[in-house]
């Protein structure tokens, strides 16, 4: 199995690594990472794919001091050191893209190219309207409609999951709440730092994404010095899961430029 454990600071990280070629660090979104997800072999076919499970996700530990996306960004700077990754390509999904953006503002010189899928992490809209809908204040069925273009096909079915998978799902949800609860889904400082992330950046948005709106992603792109946007049809907030081929070809084409 390509999964291993790696100790960083006082965190025991679950690591997935597969494939050969230029390294690609993949940062998963709020539902966690699984090697069986169909986009994984599409990326590892031509790249050395490195995918940690964030603290509190998968079997990675969660120390009691850790409670923010920024904490994870710092942890992954240490990961770059540990794996001697100098000129890295970074792909992040949802809160994974938020982690990637935080990293990119801290060590822009170490990141060659950046792909952000369904990005969150900034606040650009008015104070009396959430930029990202509150997924913890609505029924799960409504949440699935915002996340997936086709929730009937894509939404996880607890009845078909093992106890272990269910436990991982609930643990991921808990850690997600810990990280994004307040301020809701953003770091107020991040948008004032994004100008430092000057590497070529691709923002990928599923056309039906109910969480990161087109306006929101446009605003994100305007805050980045060298960003463009690619929209994937028939996909919601997680195009890498819903349209893995379209996602992988868009990401790899951009990274291969």
């Amino acid at each position: 199995m390509p999964e291993t454990k790696l100790r960083l600071a006082d965190v025991e990280l679950e690591m997935f690594e597969d494939g050969r070629g230029r390294p690609l660090l993949f940062l998963h979104g709020g539902s966690g990472f699984a090697g069986e997800q169909p986009f994984v072999p599409l990326l590892s076919k031509s790249r050395r794919l490195i995918a940690p499970s964030h603290p509190g996700f998968g079997s990675s530990s969660l120390p009691d001091w850790l409670d923010s996306v920024d904490d994870i960004a710092h942890l992954y700077l240490e990961l770059l050191d540990k794996l001697a990754l100098k000129d890295i390509d970074l792909v992040g999904c949802s809160i994974g893209s938020w982690i990637a953006a935080e990293m990119a503002t801290k060590v822009p010189e170490r990141i060659r190219r950046l792909v952000m899928v369904g990005p969150v992490g900034i606040k650009v809209g008015p104070a009396d309207k959430l930029d990202i809908p509150d997924i913890f204040a609505m029924p799960q069925a409504e949440v699935q409609k915002l996340i997936f273009h086709d929730p009937v096909r894509m939404a996880p079915d607890p009845a078909k999951m093992s106890d272990e998978q269910l436990a991982a799902m609930f643990r991921a949800r808990e850690t997600l709440a810990l990280l994004v609860w307040e301020p809701w889904m953003h770091n107020p400082k991040l948008k004032h730092r994004l100008h430092r992330a000057a590497m070529p950046t691709l923002l990928i948005r599923g056309e039906s994404d109910g969480l990161a709106s087109a306006d929101y992603v446009n605003a994100y792109a305007r805050l980045l010095p060298d960003a463009r946007i690619r929209t994937i049809p028939a996909a919601g907030h997680v195009p890498h899961l819903e349209q893995p081929e379209a996602f992988a070809s868009a990401a790899l084409a951009f990274l291969g430029e």
Partner: protein
């Protein structure tokens, strides 16, 4: 045995339940008529004072953004009662300190009430029910850790008398803490903590605080009290756990005849039946452990809430041990059965008003309990008993 009249200050004048998804968090306050609300406050305060006249103590609590309990700033109500009442102990159960940003402010509020009431405060602290996290914008993850850090800090606020001290903890940070006033009661007012879990109870027992549990029936209450005693003993507090360390809250209605008692009890069930809350409010992420969420997803019912489905009827609730209702004899026997089963408790928290239980019926219930049941309980279960025994005779012999 000490009895407490608990009024949740509900606002019952709501549209049909099928017209709204939740009675908590999201129900628009347009529905609330402030003038009707003022009349309800007047009435509920009157009922607390009638309970006081009958020798029963006073208890209130705090919730937010809900029609079930319109008391989002319970220390304010407590302050009013501190001046209006004369002799009753005043229990707030409690301050939701995992959701309060400044524990020092809570220490100040409680100290003020203790001074205003000339030392009659019983200061309760609760982790808070799950639907409280959105109104407070409070992270549901690590609530327990925040609760205990806040409580320890509050005790220190009350007991430090030598000028400013600092607190740089995991969740709360203060450079110069030096509260005025300080409480009358020394070293501090009695502390209560509510929990419905055995893990929580052991920790409360280790601190020696008064443990209250709500509507946990027969077996769960027994396990919670056992856990409390285990925590107490393991912390080196001695073998015997006094009865007055344990409290149980139940729906209680005593009528002078079976028909009136039944009618009053039916109205009290509003507590259970009106609590319409969807899962995304009643089970936010991190509020219960992962294993419990797995059990819930597998269809194991009622692991989050002790409110069982059987409790929608008077008979079911009595059988579950969450309601004591009937004539004085019946209520006395029901209470005795419960008391003996769980190993005894020194406080009965009486949820004695709910929904459409009108003033006259509420007062009838208070008086019938106070005059016909309470004296027998006090005689049978004196405060000198030790908890954890099957019968009062065993407890006295201990």
């Amino acid at each position: 045995m000490r009895a407490w009249h608990f009024n949740e200050t509900a606002y019952p004048f709501l549209p049909p339940a099928e017209t709204y998804p939740s009675i908590r968090v999201s129900l628009p306050n347009r529905i609330y008529d402030p003038l009707k609300g003022a009349a309800l406050y007047d009435r509920f305060i009157d009922e607390w004072l009638i309970a006081e006249d009958e020798g029963v103590e006073i208890m209130l609590n705090e919730h937010h953004q809900t029609a079930t309990c319109v008391d989002p700033a319970a220390p304010l109500m407590l302050a009013a009662l501190a001046r209006l009442s004369k002799k009753a102990r005043l229990l707030i159960l409690g301050n939701p300190i995992a959701n309060r940003r400044q524990p020092v402010r809570v220490a100040e509020e409680m100290a003020m009430v203790d001074v205003l009431s000339h030392g009659r405060l019983e200061a309760g602290f609760v982790r808070g029910v799950p639907y409280e996290v959105l109104p407070a914008n409070s992270n549901p993850v690590r609530m327990n850790e925040r609760h205990w850090e806040a409580l320890d800090l509050i005790v220190k606020c009350w007991t430090n008398h030598d000028g400013p001290f600092s607190h740089e903890g995991r969740f709360f940070h203060h450079r110069a803490i030096n509260i005025w006033p300080r409480p009358i009661q020394q070293p501090h007012p009695p502390i209560w903590v509510s929990t419905t879990s055995t893990g929580g109870a052991a920790r409360v027992g280790a601190h020696g605080y008064i443990q209250a549990t709500f509507l946990t029936g027969f077996d769960l209450t027994k396990r919670i009290f056992e856990a409390y005693r285990r925590g107490w003993r393991e912390a080196g507090r001695g073998r015997d756990v006094p009865l007055n360390r344990l409290a149980y809250a139940a729906l209680v209605y005593v009528g002078d005849n079976a028909a009136r008692a039944k009618a009053g009890a039916e109205k009290l069930l509003w507590y259970i039946t009106a609590n319409k809350v969807p899962p995304h409010f009643s089970n936010p992420p991190g509020y219960v452990p992962v294993a419990m969420n797995v059990a819930l997803a597998r269809g194991v019912l009622n692991v989050v809430s002790p409110h069982g489905t059987r409790q929608g009827t008077v008979e079911g609730a009595i059988e579950a041990g969450t309601m004591f209702a009937g004539t004085p004899d019946q209520v006395f026997q029901q209470l005795k059965k419960h008391w003996d089963h769980v190993g005894g408790y020194g406080h009965l928290l009486i949820m004695g008003q709910a929904g459409f239980l009108e003033h006259d019926d509420t007062v009838h219930g208070i008086r019938m309990f106070a005059r016909e049941v309470y004296p027998r309980l006090k005689q049978l279960y004196p405060d000198t008993l030790i908890s954890g025994h099957a019968t009062p005779a065993d407890a006295a012999a201990s």
